[in-house]
């Protein structure tokens, strides 16, 4: 009886031991399950079609081209491989300028015929209309509606998920925004963090250390939303004033906040690494007449370089995944950043800001889950490289 009981408990413990692995597996499964539908979605908004004149040889347009056409940045069919004709954009609400309400009939019942007439009558027209208004004997032809392609998403330069008729799901601005803000954050945090780590592990006496340690623990315990709030109220106006900008919510504000948030990780991990440097090595260096400072940068730091690297990489991971603070201070403009003094938008901030408004199961919703997948794999990559770096140290 006792042995059975022991076995049962052991089984339960074993199961919970695999809990984390199972969780990661489930995360992969569920994120992919929600995200992959995006590539089955059509480029043009669901339930709508794009119709052109029968004489028009253009068969299909990419999402970016459609957007340019409807933003009137492309105004001639020649640019799209068609005849030399002015593009005339037609949306359903324009129909009242062609036909009176009587001609359209009650509840738009005659609208299909009217749309047909409009499309047939203008060789340069492109009409964005609900597919239910297209009759069988429609006198124009419909542009082919491809599924959203991999390239359009990962190489797309525009993120504009609510655009009509073709929402833009280009990840490039978000990915570059994330990397850009994290890069600057690490640029600020690295010299700072390393100095503190060296000071704590090599220079400071016991009392100073036991004062600094809880300070750093506390710094890592402050919730990100409080950092965001502090950044919004204090750092953003400061930056706006210092650089004389129209808005203070910039990549720089995000980088500063992220740098503060990444500091505890960098400090703790690299301090641990330096403490692991054997005493004998230090003493040998000192005995050869090197000063303490020379010992630090010629012996201790080279010895612990892989530990320091893990600390930095973990700090980068923390910066890339940070959501709330970045969401609150970076201004969230989805453009590919060129300077650090303009608003930008990161992957986590996009998910946090938009998922609430994206209808479940729609293309926008799936695109946000795909962003989650991207984020997941970036952090996995980071974790594995940390694993790799620290496994090399142990040998």
């Amino acid at each position: 009886m006792k042995r059975v009981w022991e076995k049962i408990v052991e089984g339960i413990l074993t199961c919970s031991g695999f809990m984390t692995s199972l969780t990661i597996l489930l995360i992969v499964v569920f994120l992919f399950a929600e995200a992959l539908g995006l590539f089955n979605k059509k480029v043009i908004e669901e339930g709508y079609v794009l119709a052109v004149n029968k004489a028009n040889p253009v068969q299909e347009l990419s999402a970016a081209q459609i957007k340019d056409v409807f933003d009137e940045e492309i105004t001639n069919w020649k640019e799209l491989g068609g005849p030399d004709a002015e593009i005339k954009v037609f949306r359903l609400e324009d129909i009242t300028s062609y036909f009176s309400e009587e001609e359209l009939g009650a509840g738009y019942e005659k609208a299909p015929r009217c749309i047909g007439e409009i499309v047939a009558g203008d060789p340069g027209i492109i009409a964005f209309v609900p597919s239910k208004f297209i009759e069988k004997d429609f006198p124009g032809h419909l542009l082919q509606d491809e599924s959203i392609s991999f390239d359009e998403v990962f190489a797309g330069k525009e993120w504009f998920p609510t655009a009509t008729p073709a929402p833009q799901f280009g990840f490039l601005p978000l990915i570059t925004g994330t990397l850009w803000v994290s890069f600057f954050a690490i640029l600020f945090a690295l010299p700072f963090g390393l100095s503190v780590a060296v000071y704590m592990s090599e220079v400071a006496d016991h009392r100073t250390r036991s004062f600094l340690k809880p300070v750093i623990e506390l710094l890592s315990g402050i919730p990100s939303v409080v950092y965001g709030f502090f950044g919004l109220i204090v750092i953003v106006p400061l930056i706006q004033k210092a650089f004389n900008l129209p808005v203070g919510e910039t990549g720089l504000a995000g980088s500063i906040v992220l740098a503060i948030m990444a500091l505890p990780t960098i400090i703790t991990v690299s301090e641990d690494a330096m403490r692991n440097c054997p005493r004998a090595m230090r003493e040998a260096s000192l005995a050869l007449g090197a000063t303490r400072w020379q010992t630090i940068y010629k012996v201790v730091i080279p010895f612990s370089v892989s530990g320091i690297t893990s600390g930095v990489v973990l700090g980068i991971g923390r910066a890339i995944g940070e959501t709330m603070a970045v969401l609150m201070v970076t201004g969230n403009a989805a453009v590919i950043p060129t300077t650090i003094l303009e608003p930008l938008r990161t992957i986590p901030a996009t998910i946090a800001a938009e998922l609430g408004e994206a209808p479940a199961g729609g293309a926008h919703y799936e695109a946000l889950f795909l962003l989650g997948v991207v984020l997941f794999f970036i952090t996995m990559l980071i974790n594995f490289s940390v694993e790799y770096i620290s496994s090399r140290t142990n040998k």
């Binding site: 006792k2 022991e6 052991e10 413990l13 074993t14 919970s16 031991g17 984390t20 969780t23 990661i24 489930l26 995360i27 569920f30 994120l31 010299p191 100095s195 503190v196 060296v198 000071y199 704590m200 400071a204 600094l212 300070v215 710094l219 315990g221 402050i222 919730p223 990100s224 939303v225 409080v226 709030f229 502090f230 109220i233 400090i267 007449g289 000063t291 303490r292 400072w293 020379q294 995944g321 940070e322 959501t323 709330m324 609150m328 986590p348 998910i351 946090a352 998922l355 609430g356 479940a360 989650g372 984020l375 997941f376 952090t379 996995m380 980071i382 974790n383 594995f384 940390v386 694993e387």
Partner: protein, 295 residues
């Protein structure tokens, strides 16, 4: 000819560069303290005037421009308890398995790697996952249950790691002594190992609670409500939460003038909760380590 090993000039230069380097390190280290005190001081200074009994015990009113934060405090408390109920048993059992049962070698390395990976996953990804699994697939809807489970998963790695470290610190002689007296492995763990490791485990659990109480991203889509006039009735209700409330009133709204003091107050309450949690964990650690020494 006898060479001068330490020419005077070089020695001075060496000492000067050391003095400079150490000076910079010291300066930067103390500026970290300054940063912390700046953040804490700013929020305490601005928020202290807002906090009153009424602020703590009433619901927001006048479209989030007046009233207090009572429902948010209660919501955060529910979420902390809910996630603790899920994460603590799982995490502690997993830690026991890793340290006491799992065969050393590849398997433990694999599990530890997975645990590290899980703790490195951004909280917003947990939010997405919680929404897909708990809210939609399991059909809990936006609820305290879904939010607690998501937050629980988030802090499981932390609980595992602290449990493992606590157990690792116990010398093998205790295990061997107990086994030699005829106790089974389970009895040894239950009567010897766990009581000895308990102080450190509890400290870790308290710190995990601190982490949970401040997280916003995982509850955005699984639980948090913008405003609820009443307290949640069951595990399947939505709830307000302090961090989300702070996010909402500091970023959206029509009347920033009157919202800002409330935001300071909310931030202060949140910071105080986390300070109390951290300090009590530290005090507990010190108390137990003293007790062990004097015995």
């Amino acid at each position: 000819m006898k060479q001068d090993v330490f020419p005077a000039g070089q020695g001075v230069r060496k000492r000067r560069s050391q003095w400079l380097a150490f000076g910079i390190f010291k300066l930067l280290s103390y500026s970290i303290v300054l940063i912390l005190f700046a953040i804490l001081g700013f929020i305490i200074y601005k928020g202290a005037g807002v906090i009153s009994w009424e602020f703590l015990t009433t619901a927001p009113s006048d479209g989030m421009t007046g009233g207090g934060i009572w429902p948010a405090i209660v919501g955060t408390f529910y979420l902390m308890v809910g996630s603790a109920l899920f994460a603590f048993p799982v995490g502690v059992m997993s830690g026991i398995y890793m340290n006491e049962y799992a065969p050393k070698g590849k398997l433990v390395r694999f599990i530890r790697m997975m645990t590290n990976n899980l703790s490195g996953i951004p909280s917003i990804v947990f939010g997405l996952f919680g929404m897909a699994l708990f809210v939609k697939y399991m059909g809990f809807g936006d609820s305290i249950l879904a939010g607690s489970l998501t937050l629980g998963l988030l802090c499981v790695p932390l609980v595992i790691r602290t449990t493992e470290e606590a157990l690792k610190a116990i010398p093998d002689s205790f295990r061997e002594g107990s086994l030699a007296l005829g106790a089974t492995k389970l009895q040894t763990i239950w009567h010897v190992i766990l009581p000895m490791g308990m102080p450190n485990i509890i400290t870790g659990l308290i710190l995990a609670l601190g982490r949970v109480s401040g997280e916003t991203a995982p509850i955005l889509f699984t639980c948090a409500a913008y405003f609820l006039p009443h307290l949640p009735h069951s595990m399947l209700d939505q709830c307000m939460a302090l961090p989300y409330h702070l996010y909402v009133i500091s970023t959206s709204g029509t009347d920033m003038e009157s919202q800002l003091p409330l935001a300071y107050g909310t931030a202060l309450v949140l910071i105080l909760i986390i300070l109390i949690i951290n300090l009590s964990a530290n005090a507990l650690r010190r108390y137990f380590s003293n007790k062990v020494k004097t015995n």
